[in-house]
């Protein structure tokens, strides 16, 4: 049984490992209907929001861009309709990430992934980037859908272009933080992705932060949370709010990735 040739194994670099994992995730993303369904849903949400909004003197939206972001940060909301801006993408993004990761476990494909990839952080990083990319695409289709719906409803489009750009950029940046949170939730619940979806919905709608805001008031201190920063990216946003979103998103992404990696190392992955 002795083999004359001594086996040589190459130690893959971090980028080589990540490339392999991302290759798998993105191939699956583009070859299953899930992604396309969700970006289509994101495009339709603004129309539904507008149809549900009050018309005439009580109109909830007086400007088309309000479908994308509120005029100012709304930590405390008084009307369910105030949820209805691009933050909706983060709720649906959570559902998409839950289904995507849930299928990894349900199909048993994680066996292949974790056999090949000894470093568990590869999985966390790859899924976070995939989730962030998906939500980013959903933000774009939401924006297009919002513009079309706004135009169809005859709403005006006047706005400070810089503030609008900061608001959209801030929301898009938040995709990274939200994706890492959803990935973390899903590696906790794995195959039970019904629980993950419910939890993503609760966190995505910002219920805990809205609850906290009801107690502490409309405080910018709530920007340390993902939902807080997400609403901070509003139509009166500026360069500072973009930086706040960036810092919040990156820090939470790092925290959830580290926590998720620890969980994956300590628990049975399959």
């Amino acid at each position: 049984m002795e083999n004359a040739n001594v086996l040589q194994f190459e130690k893959p670099s971090f980028f080589e490992r990540l490339k392999g994992m991302l290759g798998v995730d993105f191939y699956r993303l583009f070859h299953t209907p899930l992604f396309y369904i969700f970006i289509a849903i994101a495009a339709f949400i603004p129309a539904l929001v507008l149809m549900g909004g009050a018309q005439g003197e009580n109109a909830m939206y007086t400007n088309a861009w309000q479908i994308i972001a509120a005029d100012s940060p709304l930590y405390v909301i008084s009307n369910m309709g105030q949820y209805a801006n691009m933050n909706m993408v983060f709720i649906f993004g959570g559902i998409m990430v839950s289904i995507f990761i849930g299928h990894d476990y349900q199909s048993g494909y994680v066996k292949q992934l974790f056999t090949t990839h000894a470093k568990k952080q590869d999985y966390m990083i790859s899924k976070t980037l995939l989730g962030a990319f998906s939500m980013l695409c959903m933000c774009v289709t939401y924006m297009i859908g919002g513009m079309i719906s706004g135009a169809a409803a005859g709403l005006p489009f006047q706005i400070n272009a810089g503030a609008l750009l900061c608001a959209i950029l801030g929301k898009m940046i938040m995709s990274l933080g939200w994706a890492s949170l959803y990935t973390f939730i899903n590696i906790i619940f794995r195959r039970k992705f019904g629980i993950s979806i419910a939890l993503c919905f609760v966190l995505g709608t910002g219920i805990p932060v809205i609850g906290a805001a009801a107690l502490v008031g409309n405080s910018p201190a709530l920007n340390i949370f993902l939902y807080g920063s997400s609403v901070y990216a509003c139509l009166s946003a500026n360069f500072i709010s973009v930086l706040v979103c960036l810092a919040c998103s990156v820090v939470w992404a790092a925290i959830y990735n580290i926590l998720g990696t620890i969980v994956l190392y300590r628990r049975d992955v399959y």
Binding site: N3, L7, K11, V24, H31, T32, Q112, T116, D268
Partner: protein, 301 residues
């Protein structure tokens, strides 16, 4: 070098010791038959090797390196429990995913190669969920073969395969070990099939290695015997017990087994000439792996 070297492996699930101080050595180039009852710890051990579950304690080395290192992990082909394919994707797209996972460059050519090996060329465009059990098992094997792995870990790969599938499987494994320097760890309850291909065996019970041996050692432990059947089995058994040193009666097959160096014809002629017993059926056989395993399990209980 050993492909797998496990020292004092423990894996507890709460109070249950699924693997309890297991030592195991799989030499490079071997086809290692990993045998044990249900719940003996085979799958848990295999999952520990693949890094799917963290061991409670103990050491696992793959080709001399810690299994957590990841250097050898990219060269492991796995089929544990089920293939792990996405049911709504086509077989081809599932294979493409795994090729991307392994970083295979000429993936289309490689996928065609492995699908051809398992005679599944025609199933590439089928959705995985529409494949039959046997087809799924073959696809699972193709999955594990992608990129010509250096270590193949197969958990019950023969289940669901038809006779042709089993033959193909034997040919593939023989080719992989002989021509590609691959090592195979294979667990199966179909011991007759395993006996045809394995070069080494490991028998596990209660999470501990009961016995490790080579096929040659197993061969030496499994003596040849003469079996006979007679019209009056009681008289024949009494006569054999008087005449031969080691005689056993197999109740399942209703036959007398004589462990001696005599030929079957010599035994028949001896019984007829000395005791007037007419033998109705006779022949020579060898203790099979299955019989050896059952005896070993009985001894331990």
């Amino acid at each position: 070098m050993n492909a797998i070297e496990i020292t004092n492996l423990h894996k507890n699930f709460g109070e249950k010791h699924a693997v309890d101080g297991l030592d195991m050595t799989v030499p490079e180039g071997a086809i290692y038959g990993f045998i044990g009852e249900n719940g003996s710890g085979k799958s848990t051990t295999e999952k520990c090797i693949c890094g799917l579950i963290p061991p409670t304690s103990g050491q696992i080395k793959l080709f001399g390196k810690d299994h957590k290192d990841g250097e050898a992990r990219g060269k492991i082909g796995v089929l544990i429990e089920a293939p792990g394919c996405f049911p709504n994707m086509s077989v081809w797209n599932n294979m493409k995913l795994q090729a991307a996972n392994l970083g295979i460059k000429n993936e289309n050519e490689e996928i065609r190669r492995v699908l051809h090996l398992v005679r599944m060329d025609g199933a590439a465009s089928n959705k995985f969920k529409n494949c039959s059990l046997g087809m799924k098992q073959r696809i699972g094997i193709a999955f594990a073969l992608l990129g010509t792995p250096k270590l193949l870990i197969l958990d019950e790969p023969i289940n669901g395969l038809d006779a042709d599938g089993m033959r193909i499987m034997r040919e593939i494994l023989a080719d992989l070990t002989k021509n590609h320097g691959c090592t195979v760890l294979i667990s199966s309850h179909i011991l007759g099939e395993l006996e045809k291909i394995a070069t080494h065996y490991g028998i596990i019970r209660g999470g501990r290695m009961l016995k490790e041996m080579t096929a040659e050692e197993l061969n030496a432990s499994c003596p040849t015997y003469v079996y006979i059947k007679a019209a009056d089995m009681n008289k024949a058994l009494a006569a054999c017990n008087n005449a031969f040193a080691r005689v056993e009666f197999d109740e399942d097959k209703d036959e007398i087994r004589i462990y001696d160096k005599l030929s079957a014809e010599d035994v028949a002629s001896y019984l007829y000439s000395n005791f007037g017993i007419a033998v109705t059926e006779l022949g020579t056989a060898k203790i099979s792996l299955e019989e050896y395993y059952i005896d070993l399990m009985k001894e331990g209980k």
